[in-house]
């Protein structure tokens, strides 16, 4: 594990404030989404990211606006951190025509090409090759872009994960592999799926650097991602980051999976104590940012979310006659 940089010693205050803002936006947006799920307003399969916010925030802060990101079934955080429009996401979750995927994709298919989010896919490991491909395009064109792909600890069990590391390393592609190890794949804990807990070591056999970091420490995530992104942009090839973190809620939906004999309340609580947002908040307060300033940020976020929900609710559904639009590019 990399030495902790949990104190923001090298980081300009604005950066940490920005990271805080993004994490808080993700957290609060998802808490509202959880409510909408419970109320039955959102019906599509929805996988909450609460608890993992530091990974998305830290990695995306290390990326340029035109860099490319791919995500998974659990990508609200990636979408928002990369700058995806909240209105578009809320509307998408409600299946509206104004959604970022025009109500064709839902929570598992967020997309925002204007900020480099070329898409997310719930096929486990399915977007890894796509990110390898966009990185390949960047290499061919020399456009200086870096691609980042987020995936879970389950995804490394798909063989294509290794195919991707091998090929990206062989061709020195500008791609950052971000594994969010939250120790669960659906209902199964890591030890029931992999003989050892060593995801970061899989990088070595493919001759690329692999870092294991505290995924709840947004500064450490940011620093490591910066290093990886710089490496990639400098033509030195891919990097693997294993960010260890935890999802507070259950695998899918608003619940906590505590009734299902999968994990203990104690485990959940211990991770809630490592809340990445609380840590960033404390760090900021410690470095002289005032409680009032943070409250102001929080307030703006609430407002933004409220307006997005309003926007989503008042937006129209796709017209049934348009079912066959977008099957093929005309």
């Amino acid at each position: 594990m990399k030495s902790s940089v949990g104190d923001a010693r090298d980081l300009p205050e604005e950066t940490l404030l920005g990271l805080y803002r993004v994490m808080q936006l993700i957290r609060r947006a998802e808490e509202v989404i959880a409510d909408l799920l419970e109320a039955g307003e959102i019906k599509c399969p929805t996988h909450l990211y609460i608890g993992q916010e530091a990974v998305a925030a830290g990695v995306c802060a290390a990326l340029r606006a035109d860099d490319i990101v791919f995500g998974t079934h659990r990508s609200h955080g990636h979408y928002l951190a990369k700058g995806g429009d909240l209105d578009g996401m809320m509307a998408e979750l409600l299946g509206k025509e104004t959604g970022c995927a025009r109500g064709r994709g839902g929570s598992m298919h967020l997309v925002a090409p204007e900020v480099g989010i070329l898409g997310t896919s719930p096929i486990v490991a399915g977007s890894l090759p796509l990110a390898v491909g966009t990185a390949w395009a960047s290499l061919l064109r020399g456009d200086g872009k870096v691609s980042a792909v987020f995936f879970g600890d389950g995804a490394v069990e798909e063989g294509v994960y290794h195919e991707c590391l091998n090929f990206a390393s062989l061709k020195k592609l500008p791609v950052v592999f971000v594994c969010e190890n939250n120790f669960y794949s659906s209902h199964l804990i890591l030890s029931e799926r992999q003989p050892v807990d060593n995801i970061h070591e899989t990088a070595g056999v493919h001759d690329l650097p692999g870092f294991r970091i505290d995924g709840n420490d947004v500064v450490q995530v940011f620093d490591t991602a910066k290093e990886a992104v710089d490496r990639a942009r400098a033509g030195l090839g891919p990097t693997l980051i294993e960010a260890r973190t935890y999802r507070w809620r259950g695998h899918v939906g608003p619940n906590w999976d505590l009734d299902k004999d999968i994990r203990t309340e104690q485990e959940v609580r211990s991770w809630m104590e490592k809340d990445p947002i609380k840590r960033a908040r404390e760090s900021l307060l410690g470095s002289g940012v005032s409680e009032t300033d943070l409250r102001q940020i929080d307030y703006e976020i609430e407002d933004e979310i409220t307006r997005s929900v309003e926007f989503a609710r008042s937006s129209p559904y796709p017209d049934a006659t348009a079912l066959a639009d977008f099957v093929l590019v005309p």
């Binding site: 299946g95 109500g103 064709r104 559904y317 079912l323």
Partner: protein, 354 residues
Amino acid sequence: MSRQLSYGLAINEAMHQLMERDESVFLTGQGVISPWYVGNTTQGLFDRFGPQRIVDTPVSELCITGAAVGAALAGMRPVVIHPRMDFMLLAVDQVVNQAANWHYMSGGRTKVPVTVRGIVNRGGEQAAQHSQSFHALYAHVPGLKVVMPATPHDAKGLLISAVLDDNPVVYIDDRWLYEETADVPEDFYEVELGKARVAREGKDVTIVATSWLSAQALIAAQGLADEGIEAEVIDLRTLKPLDSQAILESVAKTGRLVVADGGWRTCGYAAEVIAGVATEAHDSLRAAPVRVTLPDVPAPMSKTLEAVFYRRAEHIADGVRAVLGLGRAGSREETDGFAAPGTEVSYAMREAVK
């Protein structure tokens, strides 16, 4: 015979009975110990048969499916579950290249009694990658048998037959059927592979249907009866080998054919049924057959789009009216799905014959 059981629990009971009778049966695949992944179809199995025979797995479809094939080669009778057929595409090499061919290309010296259970799980705004049914793909491949039970009775009996069969069988169940409840014998019984079920007799039109649409076809037939139309409903149950005799006998009687299948239109299973009847019983057909299928469109997300994407009893009824020449204008378009970009069959075809 009066015990009622749901489709999901019928699958579950088949597994219990298979495993208690036959040591060579074991169950694997993602979610076999999950509280939600495969509905209630595996409940109680882990507690009863333990971690050796009920093996939940890493997210490694290709290895796990191939390992089940290998275990079958060694004489076991594994059941490997794919909680969605969408994910099973990652294992298609082991099903199509390996399992289907191994007996043939070893000149009959090996056999592969594996059951690959693929679950169709769609609707609920799950969108394009969590909704697909690839039964036509597997039905295309020689060396595989393919079944799609439509009732609790057949869910149990076909699973037992699939596991006891010495060939690789793709067993496809549908989450939309899990709550269907009906008579299910408590004993251990088989439903013969390759035999369709005449679910309803009728003289005016033959409806051939698969899986969930078989139940919908019965609903449609009841409604049509009120209009004085007596539809015969054939629930295929086994897609391969196809019980063509059952179909031809019915069409010979009715002269009219509607095929309802939950897959896409182009190169779907409905095309096979119609092509079979057209080539083998052209003279019995008194009107153009009709297919009721998904349009050639990926599964959408939003409920307004889902509402017009899936086919139900009403579309089958429209198809029947059309094949009887009773269709209101436009009904044909609906029952046929419509020409999505990428097919344009029905519009273009209609244009051309004008």
